[in-house]
Structure formats: C-alpha cells, structure tokens
C-alpha cells in the first residue's frame, strides 16, 4: 500500500466537510475520485497533502505517517498535486515554472550561487535540460519561454501537470485536470495521463467531472457525497449504482435514472 487514508475527517466549525474517508492506493493504480460539487473532493486532496490539518484520521505514505506534516514536507516525500483552479507562477515563463519544481534535486550552495562556480553552472544547465524534457513530454516544448499567464487555458493545465511531474513524485494527485476542456481535448488528456503513468511509473489519484475521462482510464472509482464515501468499485459497478445516480441527478427523476442505468 503506497498511499492511504484512514478514517479521515475534517470539520470547519459546525460544517463537516469530510467524514470517515478511507482510501488505500496501491503502487501503479489509477483511481478516480468523483462526486457532485461541494462533495469534499478537493478537501480530501488538501487533507492528504498537508495543506490543511485533518480533524481526525491518519494519512500514510509508504507506511510512514504523514498526517501532521506540512505541505512542503509531504511534497518532498513524493506526493505531487495539481490544483482545481490552477496555481501557476503567472508572471514567470513556462520553463521557469518547471525549473522551480525540478530544482529540488539540485542543491548547490548559496555561496556557489553567489560566486557562480562551475558546479553551479553545471547544475543550472542540467536543471534547465530536465525541465525542458518535462515540457516536451506534455507537449509544451515550443512554449518554454512564454509567460505562464499568456498560455492558452488548455496548455496552462498541461503546464501544471508538467510541474507536478518535475517533482519526481511517487503519487500524483490530479484535481480536475480536464476542467474547461472540450471532448477532444479531454480525450487527448486521457491519453496523455495514461502515457505519463506508464512512462514514469506513477500512482495516480484523479478528481474529475468528465465522466468519459474517468470511466475511460480509472481502474477503480470512489464516489463522494456530502463528505462521505457513497460507493467504491470499478467503472461498471459505479455506473450502475442507483445511489450514485441519485446523488448526481437528484432524488425524483425516475425517467432519468432509467435512462442512466440503460
């Protein structure tokens, strides 16, 4: 078990955002996390990456308890994530965005930076090269010097993925990577994610609303509603689960339910 959550809960004052969430992610799996808006999916991500502390419960990476660790430590241990609302370094180029992530592996000293030693120059060049590779892999190779906020939306989303990859993560958490994309772009993204998973031997947890994407690549799906796990299973099981359909479509529409079930 690579990445797990045990009885994870989060309360904000009187509001329970997440309640008794359990997850066990094995190495190499691609699991989807779905649910209506406000179900608590992003909160789960935040809890599992150290952005906000859980009210109760445990998070483990590779057997190690990371529940109370701050986000930067969790990141260093091998968990990378993308954000629902994109958090790029806007005024900086695409390449620089990725270099800032990649540089974690290049720890030349402050003094060598001040004086520009050969060691410094060598490591900087290496970092740049590595970053360029990540950009190439997601298809942003030509846009290396473009300001991040000048990129078209779809490419910005890819940049965020490239940046996450540059952290050489063991686990990759993708928060709605296909948000705002049309069906063609989603399909392309689907293939990209699959390809990246194979190339970098990644374990992926994916939040998405695009059902074709989710059903297309996820081996296992967890459904969240009002902070609680509603169902868990493979795509076929989830698609035919009446409670899941009710959660998405509302309680009263018999016709819609039958249509969805067929």
């Amino acid at each position: 078990m690579l990445f797990e959550a045990e009885h994870l809960s989060k309360r904000f004052g009187g509001l329970t955002a997440v309640s008794d969430f359990n997850l066990s992610l094995d190495k190499g799996e691609l699991v989807g996390l779905i649910g209506p808006n406000g179900a608590g999916k992003t909160t789960v991500f935040n809890l599992m990456t150290g952005i906000i502390p859980p009210t109760s419960g445990i998070v483990r990476l590779d057997g190690q308890d990371i529940t109370k660790m701050p986000a930067y430590e969790v990141s260093r241990l091998g968990v990378a994530r993308t954000f629902q609302n994109l958090r790029l370094l806007k005024s900086v180029s695409a390449l620089q965005n990725v270099v800032t992530a990649v540089q974690r592996d290049y720890s030349y000293s402050f003094v060598s930076a001040l004086v520009r030693t050969p060691h410094f120059r060598h490591q900087e060049a290496e970092a740049k090269k590595k970053a360029q590779e990540y950009l190439d892999v997601v298809g942003l190779g030509q846009m290396a010097d473009t300001r991040a906020d000048s990129l078209p939306y779809g490419l910005q989303r890819k940049l965020e993925i490239a940046r996450a990859l540059a952290l050489s993560p063991k686990v990759l958490l993708l928060d709605e990577p296909a948000a705002g994309m049309n069906p063609d772009e989603s399909l392309e993204l689907m293939n990209l994610i699959e390809g990246l998973r194979r190339k970098y031997d990644l374990t992926i947890l994916l939040i998405e609303h695009h059902m074709e994407l989710v059903m297309g690549i996820c081996e296992r799906i967890i459904v969240l509603n009002f902070g609680e796990v509603l169902a868990e299973g493979n795509p076929e099981e989830i698609q035919s689960n009446a409670e899941v359909i009710t959660a998405y479509l509302g309680p009263d529409d018999e016709e819609d339910k039958e249509e969805a079930l067929s």
Binding site: S75, F83, V92, Q96, A101, Y108, L114, R116
Partner: protein, 301 residues
C-alpha cells in the same frame, strides 16, 4: 569635471542603491512589503559607528559588521512573517519605529536624540561605487539561481510554492535576513558619509522612501529599483532650491505612478540590450502605425 557636490550626491545614490537592492529582494521578489527597513539601516549605522569610534574597528570591517548586526536583529521579525501582507507591513513599521525610539533612549551608548558623532568621512565615491556594484552583482546572482526562483514562487503563489516542496516561512526569513544585511551595510556606509548620526534620520519617511523606490521601479525588476533609487535620490538634490516642494512632488509622483502605471517604471522587466531594442522598436513602430492595434509582447523571464 564633477564638482565635489556632485560626487557626494553620487555617493549618497550608491548608499541608497545598496539599501534598495536589499529591500527589492524582500518586496520585489518575495512579495513582502515593509515599512520598517530604515530600522535595519539604523542598526547597521550605529553598530558601525560605535565599533569604529569606541573600539577602533577598521572601516571595511565595520561595514560588514553593520550588515551582520542588522541581519541578526532581523530574527526578531521572524514570527511576523506569517502575517497577511498589510499586517506584516504594519509590524515592520512598528519595528522601525521601535528601533528609532530605542536609539533615542540609548543614553551614552548611542548618544540619544542629540546624536552620535566622531566618524571621519570614509565613505567616498570610489568605495561607494564599488560596494554598490558588488551589491548589485551579488543580488543578481542570488535572483538568477534556485534561491531567487524559490522567492519568486512564494511571491506568485504561496500554496503552489509549498506544493513544490518550498518551506515558505524559512525562505521568507532568508529574504528578510538578506535585505536586513544589505540595509545594515548601507546604514554603515551612511554613518561615515554623514559623520554623525541621529535616530530621526531613520524614520518612517526613510522607510517609505526605500519601499517606494522598489515599487516605483517595478516589482520584480532589480534594474527598475536601482533606476528609481537613482532618480529619487538625485532629483531632490538637483532641485535643492525648491527644497520645501521636493517632497510635495515626490508624494504626487508616487500617487500618479501607482494610479496610472501600477507596475512601475520597468514592470517586471530587467534592463538589458534586448529590452532596450524592444523598447526602441515599440516606439518607432507605434509612431509608424499610429493607433492600429497593439502587438502583444512575448513575455520574457
């Protein structure tokens, strides 16, 4: 060629450039706005002056030690780094004023409000230019390295920075400490330029001058900060006869800049040959084509 007055203006410009360069790292590149950095100048100035006058420590050593002293004291501000932008600026103001008041009440050690004197004029234009140039080069090297990139990430998006493995608090403190060091050195230089010190030389107005230089010049542009420091130091000296009105124009200029072009003189671009070429090209093509649309400039790092 240059009168001795002009040379002393150049020296003063160099001193301010050193201070502004340090502050640029904190405000321009890390995104923390401070109203109290004259406090660090004050610490550097008094430390250097006292060490020289009372303990006969040589000039170049006290310049460094002034920086070190300011850097060490900056540790007090560590807990305030986690505050939201506005609050941190006010805490810094509190710090700067506290330093001023402590120096005021320093009795025999600092000379109190009456002042501390006895320093010879050791800060002259060749040395000052050298220090300023060195300060700039080293700062540029910091910015164009993983250290600078980390700070820029913090400025752009703290949460994203954390998710990239960046310890935000520690790096913010790193920027603060370095900015304090630079201001301390500038303060030390200042002590041997003025030859006497009074706590009120390092008040909120001075802090504001430093911070507004950074904003004037453009957040994220080192050359912009330097240009702004040069302009803001030189112009009042040039227009000395209009002494009373210089601060009036200064305030007005500040407001107008922020309202009209908040990104400052240089925005986030650095002065370089390619920038100058782009600039000239933009002007000449704009005049040729009149108001026929605007070409979107490709963003450079």
């Amino acid at each position: 060629m240059f009168s001795s007055y002009m040379l002393s203006v150049i020296t003063l410009i160099c001193i301010n450039v050193v201070a502004v360069t340090g502050l640029a790292l904190l405000t321009g590149f890390t995104g923390l706005f401070s109203f109290g950095h004259s406090g660090f100048m004050s610490i550097g100035a008094y430390a250097a002056a006292i060490l020289f006058v009372k303990f006969n420590v040589p000039y170049w050593a006290v310049l460094l030690l002034g920086g070190v002293a300011a850097c060490m004291v900056s540790g007090i501000m560590y807990p305030t780094l986690r505050l939201k932008g506005d609050y941190f600026a006010i805490a810094a103001l509190g710090f700067g004023e506290s330093v001023r008041l402590i120096m005021d009440n320093g009795g025999n050690l600092t000379g109190g409000a009456r002042g501390f004197g006895g320093m010879p004029t050791l800060t002259k234009w060749p040395g000052a230019l050298l220090v300023a140039a060195l300060a700039l080069i080293l700062m540029r090297n910091i910015i164009r390295s993983r250290f600078g990139r980390t700070l820029i990430a913090i400025r752009e998006d703290k949460i994203a920075a954390q998710s990239m493995g960046i310890n935000v608090a520690r790096n913010q403190y790193f920027a603060l400490a370095i900015s304090a060091f630079y201001c301390g050195v500038a303060g030390a230089m200042f002590a041997f330029f003025m030859t006497y010190l009074q706590p009120m030389m390092f008040d909120v107005a001075k802090s504001t001058e430093l911070s507004s230089s950074v904003v004037f010049g453009g957040i994220g542009s080192l050359s912009g900060s330097v240009i702004a420091a040069v302009i803001l130091t030189a112009i009042p000296e040039i227009f000395r006869p209009l002494m009373q009105w210089r601060m009036v124009f200064y305030g007005l200029a500040l407001v107008l800049t922020i309202v009209i072009k908040p990104t400052g003189l240089m925005g986030s671009k650095e002065l370089s040959f390619s920038f100058a070429k782009q600039f000239v090209r933009k002007i000449t093509s704009a005049s040729k084509r009149g108001s026929r649309g605007e070409s979107k400039p490709k963003g450079k790092k």
